[in-house]
Amino acid sequence: MNLREQLTQLLTLAYVFLSAFVAWKALGLVTNSHSPIVVVLSGSMLPAFDRGDILLLWNRDQQARVGDIVVYEIADKSIPIVHRVLREHHSTEKQLLLTKGDNNMQDDLPLYAKGQLYLNQKTDLVGTAKFFFPKLGYVTILLTENQYFKFGLLGLMGISAVLTSE
């Protein structure tokens, strides 16, 4: 196999990841969210959302409304949180939000950064949940939480690659 064929095969393989990544970035631009699709990781929003549900976010609303389910990030905490807007205060310039998980006993104040009393709608929100696909994201939970599943899947992919090349 010559160099051009090898480069072409490598490019074909790269496109599997490349096209998905660029589509992801384009979706981020359209929705104005750096993470336009998130997987629900906890049961704090039961019965509305369960673990493994996939949410499609939209971050072009001028203001959030009480009752909206929003995804927000707290500084120095990498995992986004999916909770409902419980209370809001707004002026012409900014909007402040207090959130709570439907299945939680109290609001999210203990989850916020030290000294933070409200979320800033403009800077803290990743987006507002507009659509959801039940259970589709459970495979990502299995991949991160279950070592047997992760290595089993990797093994299957390896065997599949070997058999295909034969």
Binding site: L7, L11, V22, K25, A26
Partner: protein, 182 residues
């Protein structure tokens, strides 16, 4: 699985076994052999189209890498314009690559060669995955309006075990190229 075919014994050339129940596999094997067959007919392969597509392809990889770098080092809201520009350039390049693959002058192009300064472009296809007939079209120079065409049943160039009979294949292509002079 490899073996030396009867027809190519004197050339010490190994012919590759091909799944002869798969039209796509037969077509791919025939396509893969075009460069060496045309080399025997005195043509030098012209890689300019392949190299252009490769260069554009790796440019899109570089753009994706740049987007990844932005994601890891800058905040999304600070780089939206740059991301938009990069995605626009990516889409334009993909459009050009699509044209170079599917445009009327490029679709199904499997080989471009040059002999004595004259260009030859070879296009091949099979009508469907169930039609074991290799359709070959040869364009001389830029004369895309009047190509020379032929249909070669795979049964004529592959034996019962799925090995390509290169001499037979070369004879068919040689006859096709000679048609131009008639």
């Amino acid at each position: 699985m490899y073996r030396t075919t009867k027809t190519s014994l004197n050339q010490s050339k190994l012919s590759k076994y091909t799944d002869h129940s798969s039209v796509v596999a037969l077509r791919t094997e025939a396509d893969d052999n075009l460069p060496q067959i045309f080399a025997k007919l005195g043509y030098d392969q012209d890689f300019s189209l392949v190299d252009t597509k490769l260069a554009l392809g790796y440019l899109t990889v570089a753009i994706a890498g740049f987007l990844y770098y932005l994601e890891k080092n800058y905040k999304f809201h600070d780089t939206k314009l740059v991301i938009g520009g990069a995605i626009f350039v990516y889409c334009v390049i993909c459009g050009v690559m699509l044209f170079l693959s599917k445009g009327s002058q490029y679709k199904n192009n499997k080989y471009i060669g040059v002999k004595n300064g004259k260009k030859i472009a070879v296009f091949t296809l099979t009508e469907s995955a169930f039609s074991p007939v290799y359709q070959v079209k040869v364009v001389f120079g830029e004369n895309y309006e009047s190509p020379v065409e032929t249909e070669i049943p795979f049964t004529k160039v592959f034996d019962n075990f799925g090995f390509l009979n290169e001499t037979e294949f070369q004879a068919h292509l040689e006859k096709l190229v000679a048609k131009k002079n008639q």
